[in-house]
């Protein structure tokens, strides 16, 4: 290869590297954290590259749950004040449709194929509303024992796991029929998260229950409690003085790579990290006050913890377990999630 050819080859490689880098940056730029503000009127969009607020969805007082369509084409937000599910265009960040719900909602969950959104109805006597995302209509209200606070579609999309604090019951539905298949009773159910086996089937459900500073581990196949993890203590003077709304731990998630479990502590203003599947404590990270919900970037590099009293979001480097920064948001930030915008957006 002569000098001219070598130079040409080097140029091609350089251009290739630049394009690859730009493509990676573009791909990263298409991810947004969706952050609700439970005592405010807007939902924020945060760019995980800059950790800056880059968008705001106005006009949703007392937003509770948030979820994104798997193809990034829509954002769904449940509004407690309006008793409605708001459908949002991720381009314009405007509400394009408001779907009245059967009663006051709490959290929501979407199926992996994006075809159904389930809405937990916390108002007594409790229910689950089913939204068809093709027609954008409420097509069904499923009666369940006790108001539903949080619900989750399993990673394989086959089941819905719904938790009731007042009903002290975890209800599992078959998503193909929307009928109950089993239940676990006796505890006031708060946030949960779900781990999957290598084949995608459900492995465990990790359940935060009222009054317990930690979480319960439910084995999916046996439908039984197999462990109860208590999170570390801190000296009393370092605790946040509150009754924690009955839930000293209120926010839990499995990292996208499936290697770690993260559980927040309102009591200690920390998030604790456990290895999976052995549940060994890896460490803890101090957050803002009253850490609640947690979301992760799809590459499992950053965790975002909503601090409901500090009115901030803690950004945590998941490898070093250090808080990178806190992002000021609206009042009472709680539920959050990730949207991966499609390339056309």
């Amino acid at each position: 290869m002569n000098r001219s050819m070598r130079r040409s080859h080097a140029s091609v490689v350089l251009v290739g590297l630049v394009l690859t880098h730009l493509a990676m940056a573009e791909a990263q730029a298409q991810i947004r954290l969706l952050q609700t503000n439970s005592t405010d009127t807007m939902v924020h969009l945060i760019d995980p590259v800059t950790n800056a607020i880059v968008g705001e969805i106005p006009g949703i007082p007392v937003a509770h749950g948030v979820a994104a369509a798997p193809d990034g084409s829509r954002i769904y937000v449940s509004g407690e004040a309006e008793t409605a599910l708001k459908i949002v265009d991720p381009h314009t960040l405007r509400v394009i449709k408001t779907i009245p719900l059967s009663a006051r909602p709490n959290n929501i969950s979407i199926t992996p194929d994006g075809k159904k959104v389930y809405v937990g109805i916390i108002a007594a006597p409790g229910a689950i509303d089913v939204i068809d995302t093709a027609t954008l209509e409420k097509v069904k209200t499923i009666a369940v024992p006790g108001g539903i606070h949080n619900l989750y579609v399993t990673p394989d999309g086959k089941h819905l796991v719904a938790g009731s604090p007042a009903g002290r019951r975890l209800t599992v539905l078959d998503t193909s029929t929307d009928t109950e298949v089993w239940a676990w009773e006796g505890e006031a159910i708060r946030p949960m998260t779900i781990s999957a086996n290598a084949d995608g089937s459900t492995d465990k459900v990790f359940v935060q229950v009222a009054g317990h500073h930690g979480f319960v581990v439910l084995d999916w196949d046996s439908r039984k409690e197999v462990a109860r993890i208590t999170q570390p203590d801190v000296p009393p003077k370092e605790r946040y003085d509150s009754n924690y709304n009955g839930a000293p731990a209120h926010g839990i998630g499995v990292a996208p790579d499936g290697k770690t479990l993260w559980s927040t502590s309102r009591m200690n203003s920390h998030v604790y990290v456990y290895s999976l599947p052995d549940l060994e404590l890896i460490g803890g990270v101090r957050t803002g006050t009253d850490p609640d919900w947690i979301a992760f970037t799809p590459d499992s590099k950053r965790a975002y913890v909503a601090n409901a009293v500090s009115n901030t979001v803690s950004v945590i480097d998941m490898e070093t377990l250090r808080e990178v920064t806190q992002i000021p948001v609206g009042k009472g930030p709680k539920r959050n999630g990730i949207i991966q915008l499609s390339s056309s957006q």
Binding site: G59, A81, R104
Partner: protein
């Protein structure tokens, strides 16, 4: 933005209640001394105020109450109070009605 218009509609002097946000549930029904309000919070006087302070502030800071005003009727508030009772709020039958009246009067669409 809707936040300002909503607040303008409600025209409540700074108030309370996130009664709902976490409305998930408080499981500590025992009444405690009502905490002091945040600076600037001004809740109209009345029996409903006393019940709200005694039964709701145990679990909920009340800063979002005005956000419901544009949407919540008396029936909505009553249902919410009943839900909270299921979650452990210490309110009896008569207090439920008083509280629903109070919330509807000061945080209902007509106000």
């Amino acid at each position: 933005m809707a936040s300002s218009s909503c607040r303008a509609r409600s025209r409540k002097s700074g108030l309370l209640l996130a009664l709902l946000a976490a409305f998930g549930a408080c499981t500590t029904p025992a009444r405690r001394p009502a905490p002091a309000f945040e600076p600037g919070v001004d809740l109209p006087a009345g029996r409903g105020r006393e019940i709200l302070m005694a039964s709701c502030l145990n679990c909920h800071e009340l800063s979002a109450l005005p956000l419901f005003a544009a949407f919540y009727t008396r029936d909505s508030w009553r249902t919410l109070v009943l839900t909270m009772k299921e979650h452990g709020a210490d309110v009896d039958g008569a207090e439920i009605e008083v509280l629903a009246d109070y919330l509807a009067q000061y945080f209902g669409p007509a106000t």
